[in-house]
Symmetry: C2
Subunit: 199 residues, 2 copies
């Protein structure tokens, strides 16, 4: 599996993917790292000698950004895409270029708390349990078929920062694991339901 | 705490409340069991020698049903209400008679899957984790401040019936526990957030 990782920030999920590949648990090649804004993750990727591509989506506009990125994905023969803290919504046309092979990680138990600041949303709602979802991207916002989920309990008096740390730690485990299942061809999608074949 | 339990069906949550009272873990008196329809739970309650009140809400209409039930709650000096598999929506006027003292149990991790057939909704959505929520009832549907939640993972290939059994078992534990916290005066509600005082 030749994987592209799309980032917007520090790239801690990108690093988790990289670690899983280095450790041999994720049978994939990190073929490209790309960002929609000047992200620290890009500098880290360059420092690792990874192929990177960057255009500022706010400056060039999202249609041109997607066109340029798609050309680069073709050039690098990418066949799966991971959104790792990527804060923009991809167009249906982009998603349809990799059917069932665009994976997103979201810091809540979807369908609860879609969109931005999911951990803050959960805290303000007053839930006792939140978590992490890794799902295949379709044309909806944080709405595609779910590959993996894991619950994270919220302790009494826990701060937003403490909760964020624990949720992100689960993301860093779940996203590489979902990508591993995709790479091994173990995901069988039937409508909204993802069956995981025995390993 | 003089507790009324409102039911629509078999009353397995009612029985769990009754067991907790008998076992001494829930310091409350089961002052009244009432139903909106001819429910097996009512027969069971009568068999236990509990006070019951029944009017068919479909026949008399919900406004008259609520008026008659409120009169009975006054007569029995009820000061807290548990909705235990009660399938109707109470009016704001009814809820406001017991501010912060109407408790509902819902078979999902709210705000995901409000309304009827929450377990089936979760299965059809394809989540890997669902659960149980006990919350205080406000004027919204399954929307009030959350007292307790517990996650229930969905196993690969698990049937709806198997999942329902496991979710209901958690309900039977969580609802009496939340009522115990209410009875002990340990719930401190600040907006949407319920703080639980140390025991």
């Amino acid at each position: 599996m030749r994987l592209a990782v799309l980032v917007s920030g520090h790239g801690t999920n990108l690093r988790a993917i990289h670690r899983a590949i280095e450790a041999g648990s994720l049978p994939a090649t990190l073929a490209l790292v790309t960002a929609d804004r000047a992200a620290p993750a890009l500098d880290w990727a360059k420092g690792q000698g990874l192929a990177t591509f960057f255009a500022d989506a706010r400056r060039v506009g999202m249609p041109r950004w997607e066109r340029d990125v798609l050309a680069e994905l073709d050039r690098q023969r990418v066949d799966a895409v991971a959104l790792a803290g990527f804060l923009r919504i991809l167009s249906p046309a982009f998603v349809d270029r990799f059917p069932g092979r665009v994976v997103n990680v979201h810091p809540s138990l979807l369908p609860a708390f879609p969109g931005l600041d999911a951990i803050g949303q959960a805290m303000r709602y007053g839930v006792r349990v939140t978590g992490v979802t890794v799902h295949l991207v379709d044309h909806g916002l944080d709405a595609g078929p779910i590959v993996l989920q894991e619950a994270v309990g919220i302790g009494p008096g826990e701060s937003l920062e403490e909760l964020e740390t624990r949720v992100h730690a689960v993301e860093h485990r779940l996203l590489p694991e979902a990508l591993r299942l995709l790479a091994l061809g173990r995901l069988d999608v039937q409508g909204r339901i993802v069956h995981i074949a025995e390993g």
